[in-house]
Symmetry: C2
Subunit: 317 residues, 2 copies
Amino acid sequence: MEKHCVGIDIGGTSVKFGLFDGKGTLREKWSIPTRTENGGAQIIPDIGASLRERLAGLELKPEQLAGAGVGVPGQVSQEGEVLFAENLGWYHVPLARQLSSLAGMPVRVENDANLAALGEIWKGSGARCHSMIFVTLGTGIGCGIVVNGRILSGADGAAGEIGHMHVEDHMTERCNCGKYGCLEQLASGTGLRRLAERALASSAEPSLLRGQEVSAKTIFEAAREGDTLAVRVADQFGEYLGKALASCTCVLNPEVVVIGGGVSKAGEIVLEYVRKHYREYAYPPCEHTAFRLAALGSRAGIYGGARLIIGEEMGTD
Amino acid sequence: MEKHCVGIDIGGTSVKFGLFDGKGTLREKWSIPTRTENGGAQIIPDIGASLRERLAGLELKPEQLAGAGVGVPGQVSQEGEVLFAENLGWYHVPLARQLSSLAGMPVRVENDANLAALGEIWKGSGARCHSMIFVTLGTGIGCGIVVNGRILSGADGAAGEIGHMHVEDHMTERCNCGKYGCLEQLASGTGLRRLAERALASSAEPSLLRGQEVSAKTIFEAAREGDTLAVRVADQFGEYLGKALASCTCVLNPEVVVIGGGVSKAGEIVLEYVRKHYREYAYPPCEHTAFRLAALGSRAGIYGGARLIIGEEMGTD
Protein backbone atom coordinates (compact mmCIF):
# COMPACT_ATOMS: atom_id res chain seq x y z
CA MET A 1 0.00 0.00 0.00
CA GLU A 2 1.30 3.35 -1.05
CA LYS A 3 1.58 5.93 1.71
CA HIS A 4 0.28 9.48 1.39
CA CYS A 5 1.83 12.56 2.96
CA VAL A 6 0.84 16.07 3.93
CA GLY A 7 2.42 19.46 3.22
CA ILE A 8 1.45 22.26 5.60
CA ASP A 9 2.35 25.92 5.23
CA ILE A 10 1.68 28.05 8.32
CA GLY A 11 1.33 31.74 7.45
CA GLY A 12 0.33 34.75 9.52
CA THR A 13 -3.21 34.74 8.06
CA SER A 14 -3.96 31.15 7.02
CA VAL A 15 -2.60 27.63 7.28
CA LYS A 16 -2.53 25.84 3.92
CA PHE A 17 -2.74 22.06 3.67
CA GLY A 18 -2.00 19.73 0.77
CA LEU A 19 -2.55 15.98 0.72
CA PHE A 20 -0.23 14.18 -1.68
CA ASP A 21 -0.11 10.58 -2.84
CA GLY A 22 3.14 8.62 -2.78
CA LYS A 23 3.95 9.72 -6.33
CA GLY A 24 3.88 13.35 -5.23
CA THR A 25 0.57 14.26 -6.87
CA LEU A 26 -1.51 16.83 -5.02
CA ARG A 27 -4.85 15.14 -4.21
CA GLU A 28 -6.57 17.61 -1.88
CA LYS A 29 -5.90 21.18 -0.87
CA TRP A 30 -7.56 23.21 1.86
CA SER A 31 -6.84 25.95 4.38
CA ILE A 32 -7.89 27.24 7.78
CA PRO A 33 -7.43 30.65 9.44
CA THR A 34 -4.34 31.12 11.62
CA ARG A 35 -5.47 32.08 15.11
CA THR A 36 -2.53 34.11 16.39
CA GLU A 37 -4.19 35.31 19.63
CA ASN A 38 -2.76 34.13 23.01
CA GLY A 39 0.73 33.72 21.62
CA GLY A 40 -0.59 31.44 18.87
CA ALA A 41 -1.60 28.78 21.41
CA GLN A 42 -4.48 27.51 19.24
CA ILE A 43 -2.51 27.07 16.01
CA ILE A 44 -1.18 23.57 16.64
CA PRO A 45 -4.47 22.15 18.04
CA ASP A 46 -6.33 23.72 15.07
CA ILE A 47 -3.94 22.05 12.61
CA GLY A 48 -4.28 18.70 14.38
CA ALA A 49 -8.09 18.92 14.38
CA SER A 50 -8.28 19.95 10.72
CA LEU A 51 -5.96 17.12 9.70
CA ARG A 52 -7.88 14.48 11.66
CA GLU A 53 -11.21 15.67 10.30
CA ARG A 54 -10.04 15.78 6.66
CA LEU A 55 -8.30 12.41 6.83
CA ALA A 56 -11.36 10.82 8.45
CA GLY A 57 -13.54 12.22 5.66
CA LEU A 58 -11.20 10.56 3.13
CA GLU A 59 -11.16 7.35 5.14
CA LEU A 60 -7.38 7.62 5.59
CA LYS A 61 -5.84 6.45 8.87
CA PRO A 62 -2.76 8.21 10.27
CA GLU A 63 -0.72 5.03 9.69
CA GLN A 64 -1.46 5.37 5.97
CA LEU A 65 0.50 8.63 6.01
CA ALA A 66 4.27 8.77 5.80
CA GLY A 67 4.24 12.11 7.63
CA ALA A 68 3.75 15.84 7.41
CA GLY A 69 6.27 18.49 6.33
CA VAL A 70 5.50 21.88 7.83
CA GLY A 71 6.72 25.37 6.93
CA VAL A 72 6.86 28.19 9.48
CA PRO A 73 7.67 31.90 9.00
CA GLY A 74 10.57 31.88 11.44
CA GLN A 75 13.78 30.23 12.56
CA VAL A 76 13.63 26.49 13.16
CA SER A 77 16.06 24.15 14.94
CA GLN A 78 17.19 20.87 13.44
CA GLU A 79 14.92 19.09 15.92
CA GLY A 80 11.85 20.89 14.60
CA GLU A 81 11.55 23.42 17.41
CA VAL A 82 10.42 26.85 16.25
CA LEU A 83 12.93 29.21 17.90
CA PHE A 84 10.90 32.24 16.97
CA ALA A 85 8.15 33.13 14.52
CA GLU A 86 7.10 36.68 15.30
CA ASN A 87 4.01 36.75 13.07
CA LEU A 88 2.63 33.72 14.91
CA GLY A 89 3.62 34.97 18.37
CA TRP A 90 5.75 31.84 18.83
CA TYR A 91 8.94 31.60 20.86
CA HIS A 92 10.47 28.19 21.48
CA VAL A 93 7.53 26.09 20.35
CA PRO A 94 8.33 22.36 19.93
CA LEU A 95 6.14 22.12 16.83
CA ALA A 96 7.43 18.80 15.45
CA ARG A 97 6.93 16.98 18.75
CA GLN A 98 3.51 18.49 19.57
CA LEU A 99 2.00 18.11 16.11
CA SER A 100 3.40 14.63 15.67
CA SER A 101 1.72 13.53 18.88
CA LEU A 102 -1.60 15.19 17.90
CA ALA A 103 -1.61 13.93 14.31
CA GLY A 104 -0.16 10.48 14.94
CA MET A 105 2.46 10.74 12.19
CA PRO A 106 6.07 11.90 11.83
CA VAL A 107 6.39 15.67 11.43
CA ARG A 108 9.30 17.61 10.00
CA VAL A 109 9.55 21.39 10.22
CA GLU A 110 11.38 23.95 8.08
CA ASN A 111 11.52 27.66 7.57
CA ASP A 112 8.78 28.63 5.07
CA ALA A 113 11.12 30.18 2.46
CA ASN A 114 13.32 27.07 2.55
CA LEU A 115 10.25 24.88 2.12
CA ALA A 116 8.97 26.93 -0.81
CA ALA A 117 12.41 26.58 -2.42
CA LEU A 118 12.20 22.82 -2.02
CA GLY A 119 8.76 22.88 -3.66
CA GLU A 120 9.98 24.96 -6.61
CA ILE A 121 12.98 22.71 -7.23
CA TRP A 122 10.81 19.63 -7.03
CA LYS A 123 7.76 20.59 -9.10
CA GLY A 124 8.25 24.21 -10.13
CA SER A 125 10.76 26.41 -11.92
CA GLY A 126 13.75 24.54 -10.56
CA ALA A 127 12.54 21.10 -11.71
CA ARG A 128 15.41 18.87 -12.88
CA CYS A 129 17.96 21.16 -11.19
CA HIS A 130 20.02 20.16 -8.17
CA SER A 131 20.91 23.60 -6.88
CA MET A 132 18.93 26.81 -6.72
CA ILE A 133 18.60 30.17 -5.04
CA PHE A 134 14.92 30.92 -4.52
CA VAL A 135 14.06 34.50 -3.59
CA THR A 136 10.59 35.72 -2.63
CA LEU A 137 10.03 39.43 -2.92
CA GLY A 138 7.06 40.46 -0.80
CA THR A 139 6.72 42.71 2.23
CA GLY A 140 10.20 41.47 3.07
CA ILE A 141 12.66 39.23 1.23
CA GLY A 142 12.64 35.51 1.87
CA CYS A 143 15.20 33.15 0.44
CA GLY A 144 15.72 29.42 0.37
CA ILE A 145 18.82 27.72 -0.97
CA VAL A 146 18.96 24.18 -2.33
CA VAL A 147 22.29 22.40 -2.76
CA ASN A 148 22.49 18.85 -4.11
CA GLY A 149 18.71 18.62 -3.87
CA ARG A 150 18.66 19.50 -0.18
CA ILE A 151 17.81 22.63 1.77
CA LEU A 152 20.81 24.54 3.06
CA SER A 153 19.77 25.35 6.62
CA GLY A 154 22.99 26.66 8.12
CA ALA A 155 24.47 26.16 11.58
CA ASP A 156 21.69 28.14 13.31
CA GLY A 157 18.95 27.81 10.69
CA ALA A 158 19.93 31.25 9.37
CA ALA A 159 21.28 30.31 5.91
CA GLY A 160 19.70 32.06 2.96
CA GLU A 161 18.92 35.29 4.80
CA ILE A 162 19.97 37.35 1.81
CA GLY A 163 17.34 39.95 2.66
CA HIS A 164 19.81 41.06 5.30
CA MET A 165 22.82 41.33 3.05
CA HIS A 166 24.31 44.81 3.42
CA VAL A 167 23.92 46.64 0.10
CA GLU A 168 23.72 50.35 0.92
CA ASP A 169 26.15 52.36 3.06
CA HIS A 170 24.01 55.52 3.12
CA MET A 171 20.79 54.21 4.61
CA THR A 172 19.45 56.19 7.55
CA GLU A 173 16.37 54.06 8.27
CA ARG A 174 16.87 50.96 10.36
CA CYS A 175 15.94 47.48 9.08
CA ASN A 176 13.79 45.14 11.20
CA CYS A 177 16.98 43.19 11.96
CA GLY A 178 18.51 46.23 13.65
CA LYS A 179 21.10 47.08 10.98
CA TYR A 180 21.11 49.66 8.17
CA GLY A 181 21.21 49.19 4.41
CA CYS A 182 19.86 45.63 4.11
CA LEU A 183 18.73 44.34 0.71
CA GLU A 184 15.21 43.89 2.09
CA GLN A 185 14.97 47.65 2.68
CA LEU A 186 15.54 48.38 -0.99
CA ALA A 187 14.51 45.43 -3.17
CA SER A 188 11.43 43.90 -1.50
CA GLY A 189 7.93 45.12 -2.40
CA THR A 190 8.31 47.59 0.48
CA GLY A 191 11.78 48.55 -0.79
CA LEU A 192 10.48 49.23 -4.29
CA ARG A 193 7.81 51.48 -2.83
CA ARG A 194 10.47 53.26 -0.74
CA LEU A 195 12.59 53.86 -3.86
CA ALA A 196 9.59 55.21 -5.77
CA GLU A 197 8.44 57.46 -2.96
CA ARG A 198 11.95 58.88 -2.63
CA ALA A 199 12.07 59.58 -6.37
CA LEU A 200 8.62 61.18 -6.35
CA ALA A 201 9.45 63.36 -3.34
CA SER A 202 12.83 64.52 -4.65
CA SER A 203 11.51 66.25 -7.77
CA ALA A 204 8.38 67.46 -9.51
CA GLU A 205 9.18 65.29 -12.55
CA PRO A 206 5.91 64.15 -14.14
CA SER A 207 5.20 60.43 -13.69
CA LEU A 208 2.33 57.99 -14.16
CA LEU A 209 2.96 57.08 -10.52
CA ARG A 210 1.75 60.45 -9.23
CA GLY A 211 -1.79 60.37 -7.90
CA GLN A 212 -2.11 56.59 -7.81
CA GLU A 213 -1.16 53.91 -5.31
CA VAL A 214 2.56 53.17 -5.59
CA SER A 215 3.26 49.44 -5.57
CA ALA A 216 5.50 46.92 -7.35
CA LYS A 217 2.62 46.39 -9.78
CA THR A 218 2.11 50.06 -10.67
CA ILE A 219 5.87 50.77 -10.78
CA PHE A 220 6.56 48.00 -13.32
CA GLU A 221 3.42 48.90 -15.30
CA ALA A 222 4.65 52.49 -15.58
CA ALA A 223 8.18 51.32 -16.43
CA ARG A 224 6.73 49.14 -19.19
CA GLU A 225 5.08 52.24 -20.63
CA GLY A 226 8.40 54.11 -20.61
CA ASP A 227 7.70 56.35 -17.62
CA THR A 228 11.19 57.81 -16.94
CA LEU A 229 10.86 57.99 -13.19
CA ALA A 230 9.47 54.44 -12.95
CA VAL A 231 12.23 53.13 -15.23
CA ARG A 232 14.81 54.74 -12.95
CA VAL A 233 13.20 53.14 -9.87
CA ALA A 234 13.02 49.72 -11.52
CA ASP A 235 16.65 50.11 -12.50
CA GLN A 236 17.74 50.95 -8.95
CA PHE A 237 15.81 47.92 -7.70
CA GLY A 238 17.49 45.78 -10.37
CA GLU A 239 20.91 47.06 -9.41
CA TYR A 240 20.47 46.30 -5.70
CA LEU A 241 19.04 42.84 -6.30
CA GLY A 242 21.29 41.99 -9.27
CA LYS A 243 24.43 42.95 -7.36
CA ALA A 244 23.36 40.99 -4.27
CA LEU A 245 22.55 37.93 -6.39
CA ALA A 246 25.96 38.21 -8.06
CA SER A 247 27.47 38.00 -4.57
CA CYS A 248 25.32 34.94 -3.87
CA THR A 249 26.21 33.09 -7.07
CA CYS A 250 29.98 33.53 -6.64
CA VAL A 251 29.51 31.82 -3.28
CA LEU A 252 27.06 29.09 -4.34
CA ASN A 253 27.27 28.75 -8.15
CA PRO A 254 23.71 27.36 -8.41
CA GLU A 255 22.09 26.12 -11.60
CA VAL A 256 19.19 28.51 -11.36
CA VAL A 257 17.91 31.60 -9.57
CA VAL A 258 14.13 31.60 -9.12
CA ILE A 259 12.25 34.75 -8.15
CA GLY A 260 8.82 34.58 -6.57
CA GLY A 261 6.58 36.51 -4.20
CA GLY A 262 4.23 39.41 -4.84
CA VAL A 263 6.73 41.52 -6.80
CA SER A 264 7.32 38.68 -9.29
CA LYS A 265 3.67 38.94 -10.40
CA ALA A 266 4.77 41.92 -12.50
CA GLY A 267 6.25 39.26 -14.80
CA GLU A 268 9.36 38.87 -16.95
CA ILE A 269 10.12 42.60 -16.74
CA VAL A 270 11.31 42.02 -13.15
CA LEU A 271 13.86 39.47 -14.35
CA GLU A 272 15.03 41.81 -17.11
CA TYR A 273 15.94 44.58 -14.69
CA VAL A 274 17.66 42.16 -12.31
CA ARG A 275 19.56 40.22 -14.97
CA LYS A 276 20.92 43.37 -16.60
CA HIS A 277 22.74 44.40 -13.43
CA TYR A 278 23.48 40.85 -12.34
CA ARG A 279 25.62 40.36 -15.43
CA GLU A 280 27.61 43.53 -14.72
CA TYR A 281 28.69 42.22 -11.34
CA ALA A 282 28.71 38.43 -11.66
CA TYR A 283 31.88 36.33 -11.64
CA PRO A 284 32.22 35.51 -15.35
CA PRO A 285 31.63 31.71 -15.10
CA CYS A 286 28.35 32.53 -13.32
CA GLU A 287 27.17 35.25 -15.73
CA HIS A 288 24.83 32.89 -17.55
CA THR A 289 23.16 31.34 -14.54
CA ALA A 290 19.47 30.87 -15.46
CA PHE A 291 16.95 33.32 -13.99
CA ARG A 292 13.29 32.26 -13.85
CA LEU A 293 10.03 33.37 -12.30
CA ALA A 294 8.54 31.03 -9.69
CA ALA A 295 5.89 28.64 -10.99
CA LEU A 296 3.97 27.36 -7.99
CA GLY A 297 2.85 30.65 -6.42
CA SER A 298 1.42 30.24 -2.95
CA ARG A 299 1.36 26.44 -3.32
CA ALA A 300 5.18 26.18 -3.24
CA GLY A 301 5.16 25.66 0.53
CA ILE A 302 2.80 22.68 0.57
CA TYR A 303 4.74 21.06 -2.28
CA GLY A 304 7.95 21.60 -0.33
CA GLY A 305 6.35 20.10 2.76
CA ALA A 306 5.41 16.97 0.83
CA ARG A 307 8.89 16.78 -0.67
CA LEU A 308 10.43 16.93 2.77
CA ILE A 309 8.56 13.71 3.60
CA ILE A 310 8.74 12.00 0.22
CA GLY A 311 12.46 12.72 -0.20
CA GLU A 312 13.35 11.48 3.24
CA GLU A 313 10.89 8.73 4.08
CA MET A 314 10.04 7.20 0.75
CA GLY A 315 13.56 7.08 -0.60
CA THR A 316 12.75 8.65 -3.96
CA ASP A 317 15.50 11.22 -3.54
CA MET B 1 44.38 -5.19 5.93
CA GLU B 2 43.96 -1.48 6.39
CA LYS B 3 44.30 0.57 3.21
CA HIS B 4 46.44 3.67 2.93
CA CYS B 5 45.67 6.69 0.78
CA VAL B 6 47.48 9.60 -0.81
CA GLY B 7 46.82 13.34 -0.76
CA ILE B 8 48.38 15.33 -3.61
CA ASP B 9 48.44 19.11 -3.94
CA ILE B 10 49.54 20.40 -7.35
CA GLY B 11 50.82 23.96 -7.17
CA GLY B 12 52.48 26.19 -9.73
CA THR B 13 55.96 25.56 -8.24
CA SER B 14 55.81 22.17 -6.53
CA VAL B 15 53.61 19.12 -6.17
CA LYS B 16 53.18 18.05 -2.54
CA PHE B 17 52.43 14.45 -1.59
CA GLY B 18 51.23 12.95 1.68
CA LEU B 19 50.81 9.23 2.43
CA PHE B 20 48.19 8.58 5.07
CA ASP B 21 47.20 5.39 6.87
CA GLY B 22 43.57 4.33 7.11
CA LYS B 23 43.14 6.23 10.38
CA GLY B 24 44.11 9.47 8.64
CA THR B 25 47.58 9.80 10.15
CA LEU B 26 50.20 11.37 7.89
CA ARG B 27 52.98 8.78 7.47
CA GLU B 28 55.21 10.27 4.76
CA LYS B 29 55.41 13.67 3.11
CA TRP B 30 57.45 14.66 0.07
CA SER B 31 57.38 16.97 -2.92
CA ILE B 32 58.63 17.32 -6.48
CA PRO B 33 58.97 20.38 -8.73
CA THR B 34 56.04 21.22 -11.04
CA ARG B 35 57.29 21.19 -14.63
CA THR B 36 54.90 23.63 -16.32
CA GLU B 37 56.71 23.76 -19.69
CA ASN B 38 54.95 22.38 -22.81
CA GLY B 39 51.49 23.11 -21.45
CA GLY B 40 52.31 21.11 -18.31
CA ALA B 41 52.53 17.85 -20.28
CA GLN B 42 55.04 16.33 -17.85
CA ILE B 43 53.14 17.01 -14.65
CA ILE B 44 50.95 13.89 -14.65
CA PRO B 45 53.74 11.48 -15.70
CA ASP B 46 56.01 13.05 -13.02
CA ILE B 47 53.36 12.51 -10.35
CA GLY B 48 52.80 8.92 -11.48
CA ALA B 49 56.54 8.16 -11.42
CA SER B 50 57.09 9.76 -8.01
CA LEU B 51 54.15 7.85 -6.53
CA ARG B 52 55.30 4.48 -7.93
CA GLU B 53 58.87 5.02 -6.75
CA ARG B 54 57.89 6.10 -3.24
CA LEU B 55 55.33 3.32 -2.80
CA ALA B 56 57.84 0.72 -4.04
CA GLY B 57 60.38 2.02 -1.51
CA LEU B 58 57.78 1.51 1.23
CA GLU B 59 56.86 -1.92 -0.17
CA LEU B 60 53.28 -0.78 -0.73
CA LYS B 61 51.41 -2.12 -3.76
CA PRO B 62 48.84 0.08 -5.52
CA GLU B 63 46.09 -2.31 -4.41
CA GLN B 64 46.97 -1.51 -0.79
CA LEU B 65 45.91 2.07 -1.47
CA ALA B 66 42.30 3.18 -1.37
CA GLY B 67 43.10 6.00 -3.78
CA ALA B 68 44.50 9.47 -4.25
CA GLY B 69 42.76 12.82 -3.72
CA VAL B 70 44.32 15.56 -5.82
CA GLY B 71 44.05 19.36 -5.60
CA VAL B 72 44.53 21.61 -8.64
CA PRO B 73 44.69 25.42 -8.87
CA GLY B 74 41.82 25.69 -11.33
CA GLN B 75 38.27 24.73 -12.20
CA VAL B 76 37.45 21.03 -12.06
CA SER B 77 34.45 19.09 -13.42
CA GLN B 78 32.59 16.53 -11.36
CA GLU B 79 34.27 13.82 -13.45
CA GLY B 80 37.74 14.99 -12.42
CA GLU B 81 38.58 16.81 -15.63
CA VAL B 82 40.54 20.00 -15.10
CA LEU B 83 38.67 22.56 -17.21
CA PHE B 84 41.42 25.12 -16.83
CA ALA B 85 44.38 25.72 -14.51
CA GLU B 86 46.26 28.70 -15.91
CA ASN B 87 49.32 28.39 -13.68
CA LEU B 88 49.85 24.82 -14.91
CA GLY B 89 49.11 25.61 -18.55
CA TRP B 90 46.25 23.12 -18.45
CA TYR B 91 43.04 23.31 -20.48
CA HIS B 92 40.68 20.33 -20.49
CA VAL B 93 43.04 17.80 -18.93
CA PRO B 94 41.35 14.53 -17.86
CA LEU B 95 43.48 14.34 -14.71
CA ALA B 96 41.46 11.74 -12.77
CA ARG B 97 41.39 9.28 -15.67
CA GLN B 98 45.05 9.71 -16.69
CA LEU B 99 46.51 9.62 -13.20
CA SER B 100 44.31 6.72 -12.14
CA SER B 101 45.58 4.69 -15.05
CA LEU B 102 49.23 5.60 -14.35
CA ALA B 103 49.04 5.07 -10.60
CA GLY B 104 46.76 2.04 -10.57
CA MET B 105 44.36 3.42 -8.00
CA PRO B 106 41.15 5.50 -7.91
CA VAL B 107 41.80 9.23 -8.23
CA ARG B 108 39.49 12.08 -7.21
CA VAL B 109 40.21 15.67 -8.16
CA GLU B 110 39.15 18.96 -6.56
CA ASN B 111 39.98 22.62 -6.76
CA ASP B 112 42.93 23.30 -4.42
CA ALA B 113 41.14 25.84 -2.21
CA ASN B 114 38.23 23.43 -1.78
CA LEU B 115 40.64 20.65 -0.87
CA ALA B 116 42.49 22.82 1.66
CA ALA B 117 39.11 23.67 3.21
CA LEU B 118 38.35 19.95 3.54
CA GLY B 119 41.76 19.45 5.20
CA GLU B 120 41.16 22.27 7.69
CA ILE B 121 37.70 21.02 8.65
CA TRP B 122 39.03 17.50 9.10
CA LYS B 123 42.26 18.02 11.03
CA GLY B 124 42.74 21.79 11.33
CA SER B 125 40.91 24.86 12.62
CA GLY B 126 37.51 23.57 11.56
CA ALA B 127 37.83 20.22 13.35
CA ARG B 128 34.52 19.05 14.87
CA CYS B 129 32.61 21.57 12.71
CA HIS B 130 30.26 20.58 9.90
CA SER B 131 30.24 23.81 7.95
CA MET B 132 32.98 26.32 7.24
CA ILE B 133 34.09 29.12 4.97
CA PHE B 134 37.84 28.79 4.41
CA VAL B 135 39.55 31.80 2.86
CA THR B 136 43.19 31.90 1.77
CA LEU B 137 44.68 35.34 1.36
CA GLY B 138 47.76 35.17 -0.84
CA THR B 139 48.58 36.64 -4.24
CA GLY B 140 44.87 36.19 -4.91
CA ILE B 141 41.97 35.03 -2.75
CA GLY B 142 41.04 31.37 -2.67
CA CYS B 143 37.99 30.06 -0.89
CA GLY B 144 36.56 26.66 -0.11
CA ILE B 145 33.17 26.08 1.43
CA VAL B 146 32.17 23.02 3.41
CA VAL B 147 28.50 22.25 4.10
CA ASN B 148 27.45 19.19 6.09
CA GLY B 149 31.05 17.95 5.99
CA ARG B 150 31.24 18.07 2.20
CA ILE B 151 32.78 20.47 -0.27
CA LEU B 152 30.33 22.82 -1.97
CA SER B 153 31.46 22.66 -5.61
CA GLY B 154 28.64 24.44 -7.40
CA ALA B 155 27.00 23.68 -10.73
CA ASP B 156 30.16 24.54 -12.73
CA GLY B 157 32.78 24.02 -10.03
CA ALA B 158 32.73 27.78 -9.41
CA ALA B 159 31.29 27.89 -5.88
CA GLY B 160 33.33 29.69 -3.24
CA GLU B 161 34.85 32.22 -5.65
CA ILE B 162 34.42 34.99 -3.13
CA GLY B 163 37.62 36.64 -4.40
CA HIS B 164 35.43 37.82 -7.25
CA MET B 165 32.64 39.26 -5.16
CA HIS B 166 32.07 42.87 -6.20
CA VAL B 167 33.00 45.13 -3.28
CA GLU B 168 34.09 48.47 -4.76
CA ASP B 169 32.20 50.58 -7.30
CA HIS B 170 35.06 53.02 -7.89
CA MET B 171 37.81 50.68 -9.05
CA THR B 172 39.53 51.68 -12.28
CA GLU B 173 41.95 48.74 -12.52
CA ARG B 174 40.64 45.53 -14.00
CA CYS B 175 40.68 42.23 -12.06
CA ASN B 176 42.13 39.05 -13.66
CA CYS B 177 38.54 37.88 -14.10
CA GLY B 178 37.78 40.84 -16.37
CA LYS B 179 35.58 42.82 -13.99
CA TYR B 180 36.25 45.79 -11.71
CA GLY B 181 36.16 46.07 -7.93
CA CYS B 182 36.56 42.39 -6.94
CA LEU B 183 37.41 41.53 -3.32
CA GLU B 184 40.67 39.95 -4.51
CA GLN B 185 41.84 43.34 -5.79
CA LEU B 186 41.56 44.87 -2.33
CA ALA B 187 41.86 42.22 0.37
CA SER B 188 44.43 39.68 -0.90
CA GLY B 189 48.15 40.12 -0.18
CA THR B 190 48.33 42.02 -3.47
CA GLY B 191 45.26 44.04 -2.48
CA LEU B 192 46.75 45.02 0.86
CA ARG B 193 49.88 46.22 -0.93
CA ARG B 194 47.70 48.19 -3.36
CA LEU B 195 45.86 49.88 -0.47
CA ALA B 196 49.18 50.75 1.23
CA GLU B 197 50.77 52.08 -1.94
CA ARG B 198 47.73 54.25 -2.60
CA ALA B 199 47.88 55.63 0.95
CA LEU B 200 51.64 56.29 0.70
CA ALA B 201 51.31 58.01 -2.67
CA SER B 202 48.35 60.19 -1.69
CA SER B 203 50.15 62.09 1.10
CA ALA B 204 53.53 62.77 2.65
CA GLU B 205 52.28 61.48 6.02
CA PRO B 206 55.19 59.85 7.86
CA SER B 207 54.94 56.07 8.15
CA LEU B 208 57.11 53.11 9.12
CA LEU B 209 56.18 51.72 5.70
CA ARG B 210 58.15 54.39 3.83
CA GLY B 211 61.52 53.18 2.62
CA GLN B 212 60.87 49.48 3.23
CA GLU B 213 59.20 46.72 1.25
CA VAL B 214 55.44 46.99 1.58
CA SER B 215 53.82 43.62 2.26
CA ALA B 216 51.06 42.16 4.41
CA LYS B 217 53.77 41.37 6.98
CA THR B 218 55.21 44.88 7.18
CA ILE B 219 51.76 46.52 7.06
CA PHE B 220 50.47 44.55 10.05
CA GLU B 221 53.75 44.98 11.92
CA ALA B 222 53.49 48.74 11.47
CA ALA B 223 49.81 48.70 12.45
CA ARG B 224 50.71 46.78 15.61
CA GLU B 225 53.13 49.58 16.48
CA GLY B 226 50.40 52.16 16.03
CA ASP B 227 51.57 53.57 12.69
CA THR B 228 48.56 55.71 11.68
CA LEU B 229 48.82 55.09 7.96
CA ALA B 230 49.26 51.32 8.43
CA VAL B 231 46.32 51.21 10.84
CA ARG B 232 44.18 52.96 8.24
CA VAL B 233 45.24 50.47 5.55
CA ALA B 234 44.60 47.47 7.82
CA ASP B 235 41.21 48.95 8.62
CA GLN B 236 40.29 49.36 4.95
CA PHE B 237 41.34 45.75 4.33
CA GLY B 238 39.25 44.64 7.32
CA GLU B 239 36.25 46.56 6.05
CA TYR B 240 36.39 45.03 2.56
CA LEU B 241 36.90 41.49 3.83
CA GLY B 242 34.60 41.82 6.85
CA LYS B 243 31.76 43.16 4.72
CA ALA B 244 32.22 40.44 2.08
CA LEU B 245 32.28 37.73 4.75
CA ALA B 246 29.09 39.18 6.26
CA SER B 247 27.49 38.71 2.82
CA CYS B 248 28.77 35.12 2.77
CA THR B 249 27.53 34.19 6.23
CA CYS B 250 23.98 35.50 5.63
CA VAL B 251 23.93 33.13 2.66
CA LEU B 252 25.62 30.10 4.29
CA ASN B 253 25.42 30.56 8.08
CA PRO B 254 28.51 28.39 8.68
CA GLU B 255 29.84 27.39 12.10
CA VAL B 256 33.27 28.88 11.49
CA VAL B 257 35.23 31.17 9.17
CA VAL B 258 38.89 30.10 8.82
CA ILE B 259 41.47 32.45 7.33
CA GLY B 260 44.72 31.12 5.90
CA GLY B 261 47.31 31.92 3.24
CA GLY B 262 50.34 34.21 3.41
CA VAL B 263 48.48 37.21 4.85
CA SER B 264 47.26 35.13 7.82
CA LYS B 265 50.86 34.66 8.95
CA ALA B 266 50.60 38.18 10.41
CA GLY B 267 48.57 36.46 13.14
CA GLU B 268 45.52 37.27 15.26
CA ILE B 269 45.71 40.96 14.34
CA VAL B 270 44.32 40.04 10.89
CA LEU B 271 41.24 38.49 12.48
CA GLU B 272 40.78 41.52 14.73
CA TYR B 273 40.53 43.93 11.81
CA VAL B 274 38.21 41.62 9.89
CA ARG B 275 35.95 40.76 12.81
CA LYS B 276 35.48 44.39 13.82
CA HIS B 277 33.90 45.24 10.46
CA TYR B 278 32.25 41.86 10.02
CA ARG B 279 30.13 42.52 13.12
CA GLU B 280 29.01 45.90 11.76
CA TYR B 281 27.56 44.30 8.66
CA ALA B 282 26.58 40.76 9.69
CA TYR B 283 23.00 39.57 9.97
CA PRO B 284 22.53 39.58 13.77
CA PRO B 285 22.12 35.78 14.26
CA CYS B 286 25.48 35.39 12.43
CA GLU B 287 27.36 38.12 14.32
CA HIS B 288 29.05 35.63 16.61
CA THR B 289 30.22 33.17 13.98
CA ALA B 290 33.69 31.97 15.07
CA PHE B 291 36.71 33.38 13.21
CA ARG B 292 39.96 31.40 13.36
CA LEU B 293 43.36 31.34 11.70
CA ALA B 294 44.15 28.25 9.61
CA ALA B 295 46.16 25.56 11.41
CA LEU B 296 47.61 23.30 8.73
CA GLY B 297 49.49 25.85 6.61
CA SER B 298 50.68 24.45 3.31
CA ARG B 299 49.78 20.89 4.37
CA ALA B 300 46.01 21.61 4.28
CA GLY B 301 45.81 20.41 0.66
CA ILE B 302 47.34 16.97 1.23
CA TYR B 303 45.13 16.46 4.28
CA GLY B 304 42.11 17.42 2.20
CA GLY B 305 43.21 15.00 -0.52
CA ALA B 306 43.36 12.15 1.98
CA ARG B 307 40.00 13.14 3.41
CA LEU B 308 38.45 13.04 -0.04
CA ILE B 309 39.41 9.35 -0.21
CA ILE B 310 38.91 8.41 3.43
CA GLY B 311 35.52 10.11 3.65
CA GLU B 312 34.25 8.53 0.47
CA GLU B 313 35.94 5.13 0.23
CA MET B 314 36.47 4.10 3.81
CA GLY B 315 33.09 5.15 5.12
CA THR B 316 34.36 7.05 8.16
CA ASP B 317 32.31 10.09 7.23
